[in-house]
Amino acid sequence: MIRFLVFRFSQAALTIFGVVSLVFFLQRLTGDPVALLLPETATEDDIKVMREVMGLDQPVWSQYANFLFDTFKLDFGFSFVRNAPVSEIIISRIPETLKLAIGALAFSMLCGFPLGLIMAFTARRQVSKWLMAFVLACQSLPTFWSGIVMILVFGVWLQWLPTSGTGSLSHLIMPSISLGLLSLATYARMTRTAVLEELDKDYIRSARARGVRTARLVQKHLLRNSLVPIVSISAIEVSQLLAGAVVVETVFAWPGLGLLTMQSIAARDFAIVQIIVLLGSFITVSANLISDLLYSIIDPRIRP
C-alpha cells in the first residue's frame, strides 16, 4: 500500500510539474509575455518597469526556476489590470463557482441514480431504450444552448425564474440544471452498468429465488454493492463541472471563476488566466488521485 501511495503521489506531482512547465513555455513561445500580462493601455515605461519586476532581463532558465518556485510557494503574482494579487481575486470567486458545482452535482445525482436504476431494471423492455435515448440527448445538448432555451422558457415566457445573476436560491436552479445535464448522463450510465453487472450475480439470483421483494433487494443489496464505485467517480465529476462552469457562468452571468476567466481574457489579463488553468488541472489531478485511492481502498486487487 505504501509503495502504491508513493507511486501515485509522485506521478501526480510529476504531472503538476509538467502542467506548470507547459504553461510557462507556452507563454514564452509566443514572444513577449509582458504584452500578455499588461493591459493594452500600458506605456513604454510600464513595459520597462514590468520587465524588471518580472526579471525578464535574466536568462530563460532562471525565469523558469523563479516561476516554478513562486508557484510552489503559492505566490501567483499580481494582476496589473485589476491592481490586486491574483490569489485574492481568485479566492473571492471560488465560493460562487462552488455553489454552482454543488447545485449541479446534487441535481445530476438526484436524477441520474434513479434513472440508471430504472434503466437497469427495465433493461429488456422498450422503456429502457427511450430512457437511453433521453440520456444520449442530455449528453449531446450544448450547455450554452440548453441554458438559453431555459432562460427563454422559464425566465422570459413563464417568468418563474430569474434569467441571470446570483443571490437567492432560485437563481441557482437553471444554471445548476444546465451544468448538471452532462453529469446526469454519466451517472445514469454508470448506475445502469454497475447495477446490471450486480443483478447478474449469484447472490442476487438466490435472494430473488428466496422471494425477496425488489424494493428490499435494491435497498439491502444493490445500493451497497454498486454505489461505491459510482460515488468515487464523483471526484472526477466535480473537476469536470468546474471546467464546464466557464460556459454556464457566461450564459447566466454567474460571478464565479468561469466568468472571471472570460472577463480576464477580454481584458487581456493573462496573469489570472494562467493561474485558473493551473488551478483547473490541479483539481483534475487531485480528483483522479482521490478516485484512484478510493478504488484501491474498496478493491485492494487493483493495486500494482
Binding site: Q11, V19, A137, P142, F144, W145, V156, T163
Partner: protein
Amino acid sequence: MEYLKESTFIQIRAMAQFWPYLFLVIFIAMAIFSPWISPFDPDRQHLLARLKPPGFEVRGGVFWLGSDELGRDVLSRVIYGARISVSVAFLSVIFSGVVGTALGMLAGHHRGWFEQIIMRLVDVFLSIPAILLAILLVAILGPGIVNVILVLSLSRWPRYARVAHAQTLSLANREFVVISNAMGASTLHVLRTHIFPNIFNQILVIATLEFGLMVLFEAGLSFLGLGVQPPAASWGSMLSTGRNYVSTAWWISTFPGLGLFILVLSANTIGERVGGLPTDRDTKS
C-alpha cells in the same frame, strides 16, 4: 393484406434506424452546397428588416427562419454555419487523429525514454480540462478559424495517443510483430503493415465520438468569442448574439442551437452504435 401491412411497418421501423446517418448526410450536404442552397447571402444586411420573425417577407425572398439584429437571414446563416462546424470538426479530428495515433504507435514501439516523454506529455495534456486548455491556447495564439483547428488538434491528440500506445503494446509480443522485427524490418514498415491495420478500428471509434465533441468545442469557443470571428456565420457566435435577444427574438438562438444539437446527437448515436460511448470522463468536458 395483414402480412403486407406488417412488413411495411417493420420496414419503416428499420429505415428509421438510419436517422443519424441521414442527418449527418444532410449536414454535410449543407456544408458543401451552402452557396447554392441558401436563399440569401449570409452576410447581406437588410437594415430595414431587423429582428423579423420567421416567415417575414422581404424584397427578394422570405426569411423562413427570421432575421437577426442586422437583418441577416437566419436560415442562410444556419446553412453557412454548418459549413464551419463540419469543416472545423472534420479537420481537427483528422489532424489530432493522425498526430496522436502516430505518436502513440511510436511510443509503444520504441520503449524507453521516448515512450516516457510522450506518455508523460499525454498525462500533462489530459490533466488540463480540455476547454481551459483550448481557452489558454486561443488567448495566446489569437482567435480565427485556422487557430481554432490548430487549438482543437493540439488539445485532443493525447486521447488517440493513449489508445494507440496501449494497443501497440498489446500487439508487441504477437508473432507477426516479433518476427518482422527479428527480420530487420524498419519501424515504418512494422507500424504501417502490422500495427496500424490492427488498431485502426479502435481509432475510428474514437474519431467518431470525437467528431461530436469537436463540433461542441468549436461552437463553445465561438460562443465565448474565442473561435470563428464575426461576420462569419458560426452556430456558436449566433447563439451568443441570440443570448442578448432571447426575450425579443427567440429565433436567433433557437435554430443554430437546434442544428448543433441534431448534428452532435447524430454523431454520438453513430459513435454509440459503433463502439459504445466511454464511461470515463477524462475524455469529455
